[in-house]
């Protein structure tokens, strides 16, 4: 190693050759909602990388706030396709605990899953409160989206405040797969109705 690369070996700043391993999260892109109908991550656009560079991608959701009482969802578009309408088979279960009534429980939720559906898939189970202090946060893993042999698996784990008038903790677990062998190169997030009033979505790639 020589020149500016060699001079920066083990340096914490300046120009260096980045490590190839280590399992580290690498920041790719942050989108901040401000009354947006959707937030999209498109490979090759606005510094977004969503290709074979990483085998696993992670989206983080921080204080997603809805303009209307609605459900936070996502869909994908495959390379060469048009529209966010890939075929999804998914599961959804959640634990809940409501502030006022004290009602609580754990269970599978058929209204939050899909069987070969092309709709946007629920990330937060059911509706989120629109109270000013209410929102939802969590993490979504997307595995090997560029693979052209296998379907594309995803797993989400999130926490949000239940809809206004019935506020409470909703811990949602959604997982499934895009039933396509085409590469997934675009991911879109939106509410089931109305805008994403506020919140951050970050995309990371995990080095392998």
């Amino acid at each position: 190693m020589s020149g500016i690369v060699g001079q920066n070996t083990l340096g914490g700043s300046g120009l260096i050759k980045s490590p190839e391993g280590g399992g580290a999260w690498n920041f790719i892109k942050k989108l901040t909602a401000s009354g947006d109908s959707s937030l999209s991550f498109v490979d090759g656009t606005d510094d977004v990388v969503l290709d074979s560079t990483y085998k696993t991608y992670v989206f983080t959701f921080n204080n997603i706030h809805a303009a209307d009482t609605s459900i936070f969802t996502f869909q994908a578009n495959a390379s060469g396709g048009s529209g966010f309408n890939e075929t999804i088979t998914s599961t959804m279960f959640r634990a809940y605990h409501i502030e006022g009534s004290g009602a609580s429980g754990l269970g599978y939720q058929t209204s939050g899953d899909q069987a070969q559906g092309t709709s946007y898939n629920q990330i937060f189970f059911q509706h989120i409160s629109t109270d000013n202090d209410s929102s939802g946060s969590g993490i979504l893993h997307l595995f090997d989206p560029s693979n052209t042999t296998f379907v594309k698996n995803f797993i989400a784990n999130t926490m949000h405040v239940n809809s206004t008038g019935s506020e409470g903790a909703i811990h949602s677990f959604s997982a499934g797969y895009f039933n396509t062998t085409s590469a997934i190169t675009e991911i879109d997030f939106k509410m089931s109705s109305g805008n994403i009033d506020a919140g951050d979505i970050c995309l990371y790639g995990i080095s392998s």
Partner: protein
């Protein structure tokens, strides 16, 4: 950013501008090691702990937490001003379990959840044993603790070897129902000391 640097944004090879602190976007902030301590506390601005707007997401890793007293539950409290760890919380909890004798398995919602409570909430342990090899380990995400607009979400996944020799995989999640910033988090058992174990605090960058 321009030229060869901008061409490599987000890519793991080639010439890139290294992060200020190398090692990806997870930054180790603090490690606390228990030695028969009544509690372990992470307080922003104290002992090199950062728990403010520097990071949008914080992660606590619990490694081999060992109880000093039999059948203790591992708990967390959040500080939202003042000195007390009494932020109001609503949580849900469920767990899967399987005993070593292979006579009991299941998945169930847990009654040790919390609704608008101000006490410490159980996040693991679940009647932990004090045998030398018994402990619990897991992870807790805390989202945007410095926000003064939103409630503060947290999600915990912990596995425990209990005093009855059960493996208990527990999921606790909820929110501190306050708009004041959370600037400190304390962990302790509901009875007795934290005999041993490490808790690591990381911050996840968003730039």
């Amino acid at each position: 950013m321009s030229g060869i640097i901008s061409q490599n944004v987000g890519r793991p090879s080639g010439l890139v501008k290294a992060a200020a602190a190398a090692g990806g976007v997870w930054t180790l902030i603090k490690t606390l090691t228990a030695s028969a301590d009544s509690d372990l506390s992470f307080v922003d601005g104290t002992d090199d702990v950062t728990l403010d707007a520097t990071y949008p997401i914080y992660v606590f890793k619990f490694i081999n937490i060992h109880a000093g007293t039999h059948a203790a539950d591992f708990t967390a409290g959040f500080r939202d001003g003042g000195s007390a760890y009494d932020a109001t919380k609503t949580t849900s909890t469920f767990y899967a379990y399987h005993n070593e004798g292979d006579s009991a398995t299941g998945l169930t919602y847990a009654s040790h959840d919390m609704v608008q409570g101000t006490g410490f909430c159980q996040i693991g342990g679940d009647a932990m044993g004090t045998d030398n090899d018994q402990c619990c380990s897991g992870t807790m995400f805390l989202f945007n603790p410095s926000s003064t607009t939103f409630v503060k979400h947290f999600m915990v996944n912990m596995n425990t070897l209990t005093e009855a020799d059960y493996s208990v995989n527990e999921y606790t999640a909820g929110y501190c129902n306050v708009t004041a910033a959370i600037d400190a988090v304390q962990f302790k058992f509901d009875t007795g000391n934290i005999d041993a174990g490490k808790i690591k605090l990381y911050g996840i960058k968003d730039s």
